[in-house]
């Protein structure tokens, strides 16, 4: 009878509030994994069960949710909710109880704690802060004529601020000259004044770290104001979303932006990814989430894949054993080979830099296949060449 008891995995997830657009697809991905695992007989011969609550994108709910999961629901394993801010309050709880935590898209969460049993699925690498921007500036630095001046701008929020810190570091490293460096409140409505101010600086490089509404606002404003830098984009969250892509359409052309996944041949080579996407796309409409699921969901799936593989391999639910195994092993997941290093980050960073090319109109079909989001960086996943300068790709 004991063997049939389910293994419970507990987490809080942003189903409402600011990050719910990411939290809900992440939940679906985890659910797909659960179904996959259970179809294959579960873990350790026991079925897997998910216990999760809505954290409302509010860190203040996290301590309550996780103590409930641990003390009342008595879950066996925990993973984090989506995003840095929701992982941070989980850290001390996990540390106090010596749990293994798998973090879903956190940035540098473990820098302060240096907790050895924390692992994080965002492919940021050992230097999380520069991870978003590194590809962007490396690409910029290798173009001819080499751009000189740079404008950076971002929202007053957790992720954009971190990205800007990284960008500043990289600007110094590559020897560019900063001509504009400002932030704006996330609830800004009209971005044309900002874009106009940037245009006035005539910067060669425009690096934007923004959340979805501002990404759209910046991009539209850039078109309306006629912003023509040599390279534009960088850390714009939201352009990866299908709903945004299908409404921005050809306005996207030429933008060089970070990404995690694109339907390019180099990415589709990983085992299991196609099956996952098929399943995801079949269930997306009902779950009310992004219909394609190209950006984050594969990683959420990979996160639990890591956990599952660790359980299977150690044949145990012992937190320390699991952590030791995860730390030592290279995993084969639907997003490729994953090996964790310092502070539980990926041993080697792998944030993509993609460029939108040849987008015509707003149809969704064109985004399903390759060629629209060409991977430029890193080298080993490269699927095409950059169109430079920005204006050359615009139409």
């Amino acid at each position: 009878a004991r063997g049939a008891d389910p293994i419970k995995i507990g987490f809080g997830m942003a189903l409402t509030g600011g990050l719910s657009a990411n939290g809900k697809p992440a939940l679906l991905a985890v659910q797909i994994w659960k179904d996959d695992v259970n179809k294959r007989g579960g873990l350790l011969g026991r079925p897997v069960e998910l216990v999760y609550y809505d954290d409302q994108t509010n860190p203040a709910t996290v301590p309550g949710i996780y103590t409930k999961l641990l003390d009342v629901d008595k879950v066996d394993l925990i993973i984090s909710g989506y995003g840095t801010n929701l992982i941070a309050p989980l850290m001390p709880i996990a540390m106090e109880r010596k749990l293994t935590i798998l973090g879903m898209f956190g940035l540098a969460n473990n820098e302060k704690y240096r907790y050895p049993n924390f692992f994080q699925i965002q492919p940021a690498g050992p230097d999380p802060q520069t991870s978003t921007a590194i590809g962007f500036f490396e690409l910029a630095a290798t173009q001819t004529p080499r751009p000189q001046t740079v404008a950076i701008v971002g929202a007053d929020a957790e992720y954009p601020q971190n990205a800007l810190v990284g960008a500043r570091e990289l600007i110094k490293k590559f020897g560019f000259k900063t001509v504009y460096d400002k932030t704006y409140p996330p609830s800004t409505v009209d971005y044309t004044p900002i874009v106009r101010a940037i245009k006035a600086t005539n910067a060669d490089i425009v690096f934007v770290a923004s959340y979805p509404p501002d990404s759209v606002g910046m991009l539209r404003a850039a078109h309306e104001v006629g912003l023509q830098p040599k390279i534009f984009g960088g850390g714009m969250v939201g352009l990866q979303f299908t709903s945004v892509m299908t409404s921005m359409g050809s306005m996207l052309n030429g933008v060089v932006n970070y990404d995690f996944w694109a339907p390019e041949p180099t990415m589709l080579a990983f085992p299991g990814i196609k099956e996952f996407l098929n399943e995801y796309q079949a269930r997306a409409a009902k779950a009310g989430v992004d219909p394609l699921g190209y950006y984050l969901p594969p990683y959420s799936y990979a996160l639990v894949q890591v956990l599952g593989q660790a359980v299977d391999a150690t044949k145990s639910l012992d937190q320390q054993k699991l952590a030791d195994y995860i730390r030592a092993t290279e995993f084969n997941t639907i997003v490729g080979r994953v090996k964790f290093g310092k502070n539980g980050e990926w041993a080697k960073g792998r944030t993509l830099m993609v460029q939108y090319q040849k987008v015509h109109g707003t149809g969704i079909e064109q985004f399903r296949g390759p060629g629209k989001k060409v991977v430029l960086y890193p080298e080993e996943l490269k699927s095409g060449a950059i169109i430079y300068p920005y204006s050359a790709a615009k139409n």
Partner: protein, 312 residues
């Protein structure tokens, strides 16, 4: 007559004692986490009601006071690692100062104008915090708890502290309500001009109410950094504090100190339960429905309802 304050003191001590006993029971840790949040709302609702219920000045800026308490604590933790009692006192005092500030606003602003001004204040303050890197700016800041709480786990300790703070808040509110101050506030709530002409020092009473209310809101916020261990502006300035600070006394009843307590316990518990039992966005939906249902069905608050039922 003299026995009254003594009895109140006794009741207060009993509650604190009970809190300590609960803390010592080492039941399920979750109880303390949830209990902390509910108690935190008891303090917030009680504090809000001193200004909003007794004096009739509706403060939409509750998040500002709460967050100011929290960020004062963050600042002190960052700079001096001051002990918790100091944090609480400092958080309270800084918020009290802000309260005094908005007290002067009441000199000219009444009704909705006052409410919107407090809302504005909250936004201005949030912007300042967002741009202040030392306390984490917009990125937020992880706060590491001091090791070795005086007893139990750190959370049972925080829980006990909150029990104490609730008792203090409620005692203060009760004292105000029953004293000449409360009667003066009620008079100025009804008609400020007439109150002034009847000898009520309206400005002084309002300043008193805003300051005390601010102090208690700050006090509620001060332990928050140690509770979540991660403070960032969006959650510290969360709109929920404004909504709850208002809704809880409304649901309980605004004219008596019991009202906010009942409201906070009911709504606070309901929210906590909804968060950890309903695993979807439905919990917000249900909170919405509960709010609507409560105010529609019990228009004078639970107290009013009880009074009405008893009357019959």
């Amino acid at each position: 007559m003299m026995a009254r304050p003594a009895r109140a003191l006794l009741v207060g001590l009993a509650v604190v004692g009970a809190g300590i006993v609960v803390a010592a029971l080492r039941v399920n840790q979750y109880v303390y986490f949830a209990g902390y949040v509910v108690l935190q709302y008891v303090v917030i609702a009680t504090a809000w009601n001193i200004l909003g219920g007794y004096a009739g000045y509706v403060n939409f800026g509750t998040p500002a006071f709460f967050a100011l308490g929290a960020y004062t604590a963050v600042f002190l933790i960052q700079s001096t690692r001051a002990p918790l009692p100091v944090l609480i006192l400092a958080g309270g005092l800084v918020s009290a100062l802000l309260g005094l500030g908005i007290g002067y606003l009441t000199l000219r602003l009444r009704g909705v104008f006052f409410s919107i001004a407090t809302l504005a204040l909250s936004i201005v303050l949030q912007t300042m915090i967002i741009n202040w890197e030392y306390v984490g700016g917009s990125r937020g800041l992880s706060v590491i708890r001091p090791s070795g709480p005086p007893f139990g786990s750190y959370v049972t300790f925080l829980f006990t502290v909150m029990v104490l703070l609730s008792v203090v808040a409620v005692t203060v509110a009760r004292f105000i309500e029953r004293s000449w101050i409360g009667r003066g506030l009620a008079a100025l709530r009804d008609n400020e001009e007439a109150a002034e002409c009847m000898g009520v020092p309206t400005l002084r009473l309002k300043l008193f109410a805003t300051t005390v209310s601010g102090f208690l809101l700050g006090v509620a916020g001060a332990p928050f950094p140690y509770y979540v261990t991660f403070v960032e502006p969006n959650s510290a300035f969360n709109l929920d504090y404004a909504v709850n600070a208002l809704a809880m006394p409304m649901i309980g009843g605004t004219t008596s100190w019991v009202g906010p307590v009942i409201g906070a316990v009911l709504l606070g518990t309901a929210q906590q339960l909804a968060t950890v039992t309903i695993s979807s966005e439905m919990n917000l939906f249900i909170v919405g429905v509960v709010l609507v249902a409560f105010v529609v069905l019990a228009p004078e608050g639970i107290l009013g309802l009880v009074r009405r039922l008893r009357g019959r």
